[in-house]
């Protein structure tokens, strides 16, 4: 009860301040400009989709949509998405709480390992499982494999939010008699709620557009039809028409998330002081907790990595020129880092507007930024092809275009990372800064930026890791002659050269470990400004 009162009063102060000031505040020009740039980028593939879909005509679309298989495939998509999203939420929040808030042993190592499944190409994960049990297929196999490879999308933002957690509210709740479990639900979960929802949204949208991973376990979703139209029918118009169904589904998911996020806010009460939150002592339960996390890592990482080792030791095609693998790794890291930087920078103004200048327009801008996640990469990439050959031919198939494509594709990941951190930072502090005479840039640098830093880190890591395994857009947009780890891996696996392919996948995982490791260093250091 009283803990609610405490947070509620913090809310109302924050809200009153925010409302009181927003009336007089001018539109922040830098944020508006940044959000406009990001939205324009996102709308390029969406516009392509709509223009193409119009070409296909209603007759074709009706023929495609009214097939018997459409309903089955849609149902397959929906039931998979719901189950995986719920499981990812449980695994992601549970793992994040143990690593960030409890005294479970080896948490530094775990905090790196738990992120890595995101850096393993779906194909490797699927192949690893099928080589353990060749009979594995269907719904449950798809749910298991997708949950194990996507839970980091929830884990990473939630861990970032928990790291930034204000100890005060939890302590108040405990001191007023709430059990640890009750305090977790009523205080901790409430404080990280935006991150949980954001992560689940990413899982949902990502699954709607997913295709490749299901092939190997023979589970067909609606996206299969889109790929059939592209790859066998060469009918971009029909494929884009069908993709509109994905857009509708994602609009439902985006609306649902908005409704669930509610109006309640959970700002930190004393962020300026940066008091590290004490860890919950698990006592003897430390060991079962460790075992659970180790099992999760073992299933999500061990199985695919095991299959890579198997390939490397068994395949006869293991010889490879070391220069090409280093060049591919260099390109992967370079493109991924540039895209992650751009996406993170663009996510900041979008979140600033939607959280600090909340109105219908800014909410819409934020929602639109999620759309690329629900579109198959092929649609987004072909949209950029069509756009650049018409309006920016000199950009076509350049490194810059590929980087921009990654930034657009993975902007939703960055938005979730930044938003969950910014939602915790009370605008009251920014207002105090302004009232003390600082300009908006100064306030952003000295107050907002330190508060959202863990979120920026999570955003960067999510985009970087996802970019480093991206294949579809890379094949279409990379500069001619340039290889990334993903394209080389693909080349070898399509020719059965699994032995030669394995080191490329191994390097993808290693490269993903870099941002994961850097984030974990921040995790261990006390949050807030005590580092400066």
């Amino acid at each position: 009860m009283s803990s609610n009162a405490a947070s509620a009063s913090a809310d109302s102060v924050g809200e009153r301040l925010a409302h009181g000031w927003s009336g007089r505040r001018r539109w922040p020009l830098v944020s508006v400009a940044g959000a406009a740039v990001a939205t324009a980028g996102v709308l390029v593939p969406v516009a392509f989709l709509i223009v193409q879909a119009q070409d296909s005509g209603w007759g074709t679309l009706r023929r495609l949509l009214l097939r018997h298989s459409t309903a089955v495939l849609l149902w397959n998509s929906v039931r998979l998405t719901v189950a995986c999203t719920l499981l990812c939420a449980v695994l992601g929040v549970g793992a994040a709480w143990l690593v960030e808030r409890s005294d479970v042993p080896l948490r530094r190592l775990l905090s790196v390992l738990l992120v890595l499944p995101l850096g393993i190409p779906d194909f490797v994960t699927g192949f690893g499982w099928v080589s353990i049990d060749p009979a594995l297929h269907g719904y449950l196999a798809a749910v298991m494999i997708m949950t194990l490879s996507l839970y980091p999308l929830v884990y990473l933002p939630v861990a970032g939010a928990m790291r930034n957690l204000d100890a005060g509210l939890h302590e108040v709740a405990r001191s007023l008699g709430d059990s640890p479990a009750r305090a977790f639900v009523r205080v901790t979960l409430r404080q990280v709620w935006p991150a949980v929802l954001g992560g689940c949204l990413l899982v949902t949208l990502g699954l709607l557009a997913e295709y490749g991973a299901f092939e190997i376990v023979q589970y067909q979703t609606f996206t299969v039809q889109i790929f059939t139209e592209f790859k066998l029918g060469f009918d971009a118009a029909a494929a884009c028409g069908l993709s509109l169904v994905l857009v509708l589904l994602s609009i439902a998911a985006l609306g649902g998330e908005l409704a669930l996020s509610g109006r309640g806010r959970a700002f930190r009460t004393g962020p300026g002081a940066g008091r590290p939150a004490g860890r919950i002592r698990l006592g003897r339960r430390r060991w079962p907790a460790l075992a659970a996390l180790a099992a999760l890592c073992g299933l999500a990482l061990g199985v695919p990595l095991g299959s890579l080792v198997y390939w490397m030791t068994r395949g006869s095609s293991s010889t490879l020129p070391s220069t090409s693998i280093l060049a591919a790794a260099g390109h992967t890291a370079e493109y991924g880092a540039a895209a992650a930087a751009i996406a993170t920078v663009l996510a900041v103004p979008i979140c600033m507007l939607s959280l600090r200048h909340r109105n219908r327009l800014t909410i819409l801008i934020e929602r639109v930024a999620y759309l690329p996640m629900a579109l198959p990469g092929l649609v987004v990439a072909l949209g950029l092809v069509a756009f650049s050959v018409r309006y920016a031919l000199s950009l076509y198939q350049s490194a810059l275009e590929l980087i921009l494509a990654y930034a657009i594709l993975f902007l939703p990941l960055a938005v979730v990372g930044v938003r969950s951190a910014m939602a915790q930072a009370s605008p009251a502090l920014e207002e105090v800064g302004r009232s003390l005479g600082s300009g908006p840039a100064e306030v952003f640098r000295r107050i907002t930026l330190p508060l959202i830093a863990p979120g920026l880190g999570a955003a960067f890591a999510l985009v970087f890791i996802s970019s480093s395994t991206e294949l579809t857009a890379t094949l279409l947009l990379r500069p001619t002659g340039v290889n990334t780890l993903a394209t080389q891996f693909w080349t070898y696996t399509t020719n059965f050269s699994y032995g030669a392919a394995a080191p490329y996948a191994g390097l993808m995982v290693l490269i993903s470990a870099i941002p994961a490791y850097l984030l974990s260093r921040r995790a261990i250091a006390p949050a807030g400004r005590s580092r400066s």
Binding site: E215, T228, L400
Partner: protein, 340 residues
């Protein structure tokens, strides 16, 4: 504000080299350079390109991806393609680009280097190499039964639960087209729906051959080279499967052709023609035959890789790649039956 300006300046200076590099590199290259979009076996293509560069001094920029990606890309490029030559794994995508008017005619001398039935009827693409459709089978998984010698038998209840196939592969539609051409549409649909209910669906031919090899399925229709490539990777000790050729004239006994074409939008037509001529030259065809892609060279007189049944001993049915068309009919059949 000044700090923010500094940040912006930094961001701009950091991205300028990228922008400049982007503008510099995306030009269509000098007259002595062509861009090749290749959906073919990457290592073999690299060998061909190297020999061509050495012989002619023409530089070739290779862009490798699967042919469906490249086909869609060329369609979206709408005549602005940086590509001069498209080297595809299958002919339907070439037929499609021809229908859209994106291809230029190939030199007659080049077309004549290979048997005319493996070229575009209009002379817009040239056949370069071929695969033959076969059955891969695992003798122990078959439990001593003899593998079928007709594609039509695959759908029989006798093989229920034993067949693995990849209906979404570009190699599968020609089979369906052939059955349709030989036995009629109703027979083809019946065959497909029986196969659907008795067989196991895999995502691609690589998986079909691997799963037959490890005994998960007992038989599967594939193109011969998948098995040879698997054997090259697994070695003799890891190979637990063998190939069964279809009986002569069977609708399953098909030759699938890989071909190349020149884009109408290319501003290096002469160099592109030389590249196509090289692909079907004796030298080019020998490189192809000795590479590890295990395809049949189409130029008469060039022997395929050791171990392959000689090309002139194959007795495929009389359907030509051009007759099998752009694959739209089998695609609709598969969609209607819920296989795609």
């Amino acid at each position: 504000m000044t700090r923010l300006r500094k940040l912006l300046c930094f961001a701009l200076t950091a991205t300028t080299p990228l922008l400049l590099a982007a503008c510099g590199s995306s030009g269509s290259g000098s007259a002595n350079s062509i861009t090749l979009y290749s959906g073919q076996h990457e290592q073999t293509t690299a060998l061909l390109v190297k020999a061509f560069e050495k012989q002619t001094g023409i530089n070739v920029q290779v862009r490798s991806a699967d042919e469906a990606t490249l086909g869609n890309q060329i369609l979206q490029e709408q005549g602005n393609s940086p590509a001069d030559v498209f080297y595809a794994e299958n002919t339907p995508v070439l037929e499609l680009l021809r229908e859209h008017g994106f291809l230029s005619p190939v030199d007659t001398a080049t077309l004549r280097a290979v048997p005319g039935r493996y070229d575009s009827a209009q002379g817009d693409w040239v056949g370069v190499s071929a695969r033959v459709s076969v059955l891969v089978y695992n003798a122990s998984a078959l439990g001593g039964a003899k593998p079928p010698s007709s594609i039509l038998e695959l759908a029989s209840p006798k093989w229920r639960g034993k067949v693995g196939f990849a209906p979404s592969e570009t190699d599968f539609q020609p089979l369906l087209s052939a059955i349709e051409k030989v036995d009629g549409r109703a027979a083809a649909e019946r065959w497909l729906s029986e196969l659907k209910s008795s067989g196991r669906i895999y995502p691609d031919n690589e998986t079909v051959v691997a799963q037959v090899n490890n005994g998960q399925s007992a038989i599967g229709p594939i193109n011969h080279y998948y098995w040879y490539r698997l054997r090259a990777e697994e070695g003799a000790s890891g190979t637990h499967s063998a190939l069964q050729y279809f009986k002569p004239g069977d609708p399953g006994d098909l030759i699938d052709v890989s071909g190349a074409a020149i884009l109408k939008s290319s501003s290096h037509q002469a160099a592109a023609q030389r590249f196509l001529a090289f692909l079907v030259s004796a030298q080019g065809q020998r490189i192809l035959a000795h590479s590890d892609s295990f395809e049949y060279p189409l130029r008469p007189g060039v022997k395929p890789a050791a171990g392959l049944r000689p090309f002139d001993q194959l007795q495929p049915n009389a359907l030509t790649p051009a007759e099998l068309g752009d694959g739209r009919v089998p695609l609709e059949m598969e969609q209607r039956l819920g296989l795609l």
